[in-house]
């Protein structure tokens, strides 16, 4: 189970990449493998507020439905347009990216966190893997 060491994690299997300005959020490889191939994704509108620990969206597979939880409080600054349907062109969002590259092209949203920004409440890769191990995975 390789979880990149430069990311932070939530107990609910989201990851965060903080670049000093925006926090990119996705779900871990473990999470998407548990879910199986995503079939539906619901993300919050640009500019909407998200609250740490509260649901910000929904992801579904043929097997199950899961809420997505915000790792940080802030405002949605970007959404991964590759994943979303484009009504203008009629192009369907490529949800397979979440399964194929969960820590990369399968990212979900970028949050502009509410200052002061702290990642201290989030898990390190090591702590996250310890949690997975404790859950028997």
């Amino acid at each position: 189970m390789h979880n990149p060491p430069d990311l932070r994690y939530t107990p609910t299997h989201e990851w965060v990449r903080w670049d000093g300005e925006l926090a990119t959020v996705g779900i871990t490889r473990f999470a998407v493998e548990q879910l199986t191939e995503p079939t539906y994704l619901e993300l919050p509108a640009l500019g909407s507020s998200v609250e740490a620990g509260k649901p910000f969206g929904v992801i579904e597979s043929v097997k199950s439905t899961s809420d997505l939880y915000a790792p940080l409080s802030g405002v949605v600054a970007e959404r991964n347009s590759e994943l979303l349907d484009d009504p203008a062109s009629g192009r369907q969002g490529n949800l397979a990216l979440i399964l194929e590259d969960p820590f990369g092209r399968g990212w979900l949203i970028k949050i502009r966190p509410q200052p002061p920004v702290s990642l201290e409440h989030l898990l390190t890769a090591e702590q996250y893997e310890a949690q997975l191990a404790a859950e028997g995975h």
């Binding site: 199986t36 191939e37 079939t39 539906y40 619901e42 579904e60 597979s61 043929v62 097997k63």
Partner: protein, 364 residues
């Protein structure tokens, strides 16, 4: 987890990287490559499923027909040798104890394939209603394995694997045959909406058959695809569309209840149920968009009144539609009725559509 039962193919599943899940007391593969790919393989080519968790019971001896006709809602006595019949087992109030396949091998010799979760219950029920010690009931589940081969290419895949050409088997018929020197039985049945076969053989022979099918390009499929395939084909699943609180009439399975035969358990309750226009009935729902309804979600009328409950739902990979089955009040069950499904924080628009959602086009 260590107490979970393992099928004869358990080690193979693990070696292939299958995701194993507990199911009705068994450790079973949920998926290998992925549910969607496996679902599509069955619709377009052929897939194989380890369904060894299903209960396999043998019922034989003088009085076996009498016993089965008394516990089954469908007619057993008129069955031909080699015929397979779907039936419900109901309790006195008409609720469904299990849905089963009955195989007739001889005048007084039958096999039953029952749901894994109901195996002990059905065994006890048969024992309880056994007319005499002449009827013997054996549980052959652990000694045997069961493999389903499903899909338009299933017949070609099994063609020369057995002493008899299974392509000659008619739908819902079975035969006892040989796979090399191993005695097996096979039926033209399945739970996917496709043509296909279900094969029962000694547990120790399962791996060789499985590998030979694999060698012919038949794709291993897990319980995940089995569930989406049966949903897309509009087939009820025990624990979802069928429970001890639901009767076969409500479930749309009146065709498997034969009032023209003699007495059977649940008969008078079901005769009443046939006249009852107040109980919720099973319907198919097509949902707008890709979001899925799930078991337990409430179904509302277009005006927002609660009229039913979802029993199964998923995005269905072949039809590429979000589909569900639900029980709704009869006034809301007509095809075309607009309904809503209440999810946490969302309402989905839906309409009643005919079941099955998916029906294969006959070959040729």
């Amino acid at each position: 987890m260590s107490t979970l039962l393992r099928t004869a193919l358990y080690d193979w599943h693990l070696a292939q990287g299958a995701r194993m899940v507990p199911f009705a007391g068994w450790s079973m593969p949920l998926q290998y490559e992925g549910i969607v790919a496996e679902h599509l393989a069955v619709r377009k080519e052929a897939g194989m499923f380890d369904i060894s968790h299903m209960g396999r019971l043998r019922c034989q001896g003088a009085g076996a027909t009498q016993l089965l006709d008394y516990v089954c809602t469908n007619a057993i006595a008129p069955m031909h040798t080699g015929q397979v019949r779907y039936s419900l087992l109901c309790h006195e109030r008409g609720g469904v104890l299990d849905d089963v396949l009955v195989y007739r091998w001889a005048e007084e010799e039958f096999s039953l394939v029952v749901n894994a979760a109901n195996r002990d219950k059905v065994l006890a029920w048969l024992e309880q209603h056994r007319p005499s010690a002449a009827v013997q009931i054996q549980d052959e589940t652990r000694a045997t394995a069961m493999v389903a081969v499903q899909g338009p290419a299933a017949a070609a895949a099994v063609a020369d694997l057995f002493a008899d050409d299974l392509r000659r088997l008619k739908y819902y018929f079975a035969c006892r045959t040989w796979c090399g020197s191993t005695a097996v039985w096979a039926s033209r049945t399945g739970y996917t909406g496709e043509d296909g076969f279900e094969i029962v053989l000694p547990a120790e022979a399962a791996l060789e058959l499985w590998e030979r099918l694999r060698g012919r390009g038949v794709k291993p499929c897990g319980l995940g695809a089995r569930d989406t395939l049966r949903l897309e084909a509009g087939m009820p699943l025990y624990g979802h569309e069928l429970t001890e609180e639901i009767n076969p009439i409500q479930a749309g399975l009146a065709w498997a209840v034969k009032f023209s035969k003699g007495d059977f358990i649940g008969r008078s309750a079901l005769e009443q149920a046939r006249q009852d226009r107040t109980l919720p009935v099973r319907v198919g729902l097509e949902i707008e968009g890709r979001r899925a309804a799930r078991m337990g979600h409430r179904v509302l009328s277009a005006e927002g009144q609660a009229v039913g409950t979802v029993t199964s739902g998923s995005f269905c990979p072949y039809l590429e539609l979000s589909l569900a089955m639900a029980y709704v009040l009869p006034d809301y069950a007509a095809v075309g009725t607009p309904l809503q499904i209440e999810l946490p924080g969302a309402f989905l628009r839906a309409a009643v559509v005919p079941l099955p959602f998916y029906k294969r086009t006959p070959a040729g």
